[in-house]
């Protein structure tokens, strides 16, 4: 059966509304994998995860398992984790180092750029079999590009350059990297892999949602507020409890002091909502003061001041990435099925910063991205309840209209919400969604 047609797709989006089918219909999901995930630039990893020739990391583009490698010539390659012979998955470990990849089934062997370099017992194959045919390979993504160490791949040979795709969002990556006194960051400290029974789009829709914390996170906000700070902490619990309390910032604060900005392509970032002097721009924290000295020493006082004045919370790069510089966190969304999503999260170390700062990064990762976090578990529950809710007919049109009449140009080619609780960033994602989905 053919998938939904273009007019049918366009009919799913109305001003400030979206039809529940986009979260529930497997045919829509299949089309998203073809038209969004096989066309857009998809974040696949960070260069620090493949430092040396032969280093590799398993990753994904939509549902397609890929391997990001550092090829022998130093270039970064992104290749399909599938043998061209009988289709077996070739690379079985999440990461490692290899001179070449050998399939376990009949020994077909590939270079780290995916080229087939050895076929044992060649005599048995038919006369037209050509191991030098570029199609007989672990097929490489059509395009690979990186911005300041963040690697993206696209399965489409044509389309906007990565720089054009990112647009003004490059400034959020700049913010992430500029904060390193030595000008370099690296992935460190392990990866969370959490999952929920709901659609992939729900995840980015929540990460810039300033209106949800006081409801979704009520339990951890109240529990943290009642916490006696005299109780023993190694430092980890202190970070966690402070962050839980911040989620309870009063509504006026979200409205008056936090902004939301959106850009073409479905991207957006949320302003910072923290006034806790230990968590961000931590003027009261000796460790942060030590860091600031290191930053000033390497960058100069004026540049260090400029860097510190960039105060963003989550930056979303549609369709599969969200990251934040202040605690060096990054999340990658992996769609599995229309009602199943996995998210991998990573932390970054700032080179040249005091070593102990990374302990705070880890403590922060545990409370915001941890599979056992008292905060994240309430988000995952909410995604699951939406996943269950949208399967039934009845309320057909989902409301994404908060702030709709008050969206305004930001002067940099984007659209800002009137305040951080606007759903402008969701409407912006659906503009991008329609652009991909309505193009055959």
């Amino acid at each position: 059966m053919a998938g939904p047609g273009e007019s049918e797709i366009a009919g799913l989006i109305r001003p400030g509304r979206v039809h529940r089918r986009v979260y529930a219909d497997p045919a829509i999901f299949d089309l998203e994998m073809e038209r969004i995930f096989a066309r857009a630039w998809i974040y696949v990893g960070h260069e620090s995860q493949v430092k040396a020739p032969g280093d590799y990391l398993r990753t994904r583009i939509g549902r397609r398992p890929m391997v990001m490698t550092r090829h022998q010539d130093g270039s970064i390659q992104v290749i399909h984790n599938q043998c061209a012979h009988r289709g077996a998955m070739v690379v079985a470990k999440d990461s490692g180092n290899a001179r070449q990849f050998e399939c376990c089934y009949h020994g077909w062997t590939y270079a780290t750029d995916g080229r087939l370099i050895h076929v044992p017992r060649r005599h048995g194959y038919p006369a037209h079999f050509d191991p030098d045919d570029p199609g007989t390979a672990m097929v490489a993504a059509a395009r690979v590009a990186s911005y300041r160490g963040f690697v993206f791949a696209s399965l489409a040979a044509d389309g906007p350059s990565l720089a054009d795709f990112l647009g003004p969002m490059t400034t959020s990556f700049d913010d992430m990297v500029d904060r390193a006194p030595d000008g370099e960051i690296e992935v460190a400290g392990g990866v969370f892999k959490h999952a929920y029974d709901g659609n992939w789009k729900l995840y980015l829709e929540n990460l810039c949602d300033a209106a949800h914390p006081v409801f979704v996170h009520r339990s951890s906000i109240d529990a943290a507020r009642a916490q006696d700070d005299a109780a023993h902490s190694t430092g980890a619990g202190e970070i966690a409890v402070r962050q839980m309390r911040q989620n309870g910032a009063p509504h006026d604060f979200w409205r008056e002091q936090v902004g939301i900005w959106t850009y073409p392509g479905g991207h957006a970032f949320l302003g910072d909502y923290h006034d806790d002097d230990k968590l961000v721009a931590a003027s009261g924290d000796p460790l942060f003061a030590e860091y600031l000295v290191a930053l000033q020493a390497r960058k100069g006082a004026a540049e260090a001041k400029r860097i510190m004045e960039v105060t963003r919370w989550n930056s979303n790069v549609y369709p599969n990435l969200s990251f934040m510089s202040q605690f060096r966190q990054l999340r990658v969304v992996h769609p599995v099925a229309v009602d199943r999503t996995e998210v991998y999260t990573y932390a970054f170390r700032l080179k040249g910063a005091p070593a102990r700062m990374f302990e705070d990064t880890i403590a922060f990762a545990n409370v915001t991205n941890g599979t056992g976090s008292p905060v994240l578990t309430d988000d995952l529950e909410t995604y699951g309840r939406i996943g269950a809710g949208v399967t039934s007919a009845g309320a057909e049109w989902i409301e994404i209209g908060r702030g709709y009449q008050t969206d305004r140009p930001d002067g940099k080619g984007g659209v800002a919400g009137i305040d951080s609780t606007s759903e402008v960033y969701i409407r912006n994602m659906y503009d991008a969604w329609l652009g991909y989905m309505a193009a055959p």
Partner: protein
């Protein structure tokens, strides 16, 4: 302290598992020392909880907040609450000194919630200090066999 009898250690672990199964969170928290900590590593053989992420790493302050949250009315992730059934076994004393023992044991926990059943299993490590007729937990480490796998949210301590 003199080495506790095997029955006494096994009895302590069984009693602890019962507190957790019966969701007597405050009573479970009371087993921990004032500077106690609770750790569920994310990686096999993880060396420390400070430089690498963990499924759970709670110092005393965070453990208190976690336990207090489990009694909150607006606890979405536990509405409805999980029901759990734990078996603890194979306890051995691995180390003793300074009036304390380190106990290694095996556990399996079945969790039921929202018509779904999950099984968790692994090795527990307890550092126990004598406290009158019983023990206090100086620290507890739980090594899940699938610590680094993809998991849905984990709300109930092991």
């Amino acid at each position: 302290m003199s080495r506790p009898a095997p029955d006494e250690i096994a009895g302590f672990l069984v009693a602890e598992a019962r507190l957790l199964d019966e969701r007597r969170w405050e009573d479970w928290l009371a087993l921990f020392a004032e500077d106690g900590w609770y750790w569920v590593p994310l990686e096999e053989g993880q060396e420390n909880p400070r430089e690498s992420v963990s499924l759970i790493y709670d110092d005393r302050r965070l453990l208190e907040t976690r336990i207090r949250r489990l009694a909150e009315a607006a606890l979405h992730a536990q509405t409805p609450a999980s029901r759990t059934s734990r078996i603890v076994a194979n306890a051995t004393v691995e180390e003793e000194g300074a009036g304390e023992v380190t106990v290694r044991a095996k556990f399996e926990m079945v969790e039921s919630r929202h018509d779904r059943r999950r099984v968790f299993a692994g090795t527990t490590w307890h550092r126990l200090a004598r406290s009158g007729e019983t023990f206090r937990i100086r620290w507890k480490r739980v090594d899940l066999v699938d610590c680094d796998a993809v998991h849905d949210g984990i709300s109930v301590p092991f």
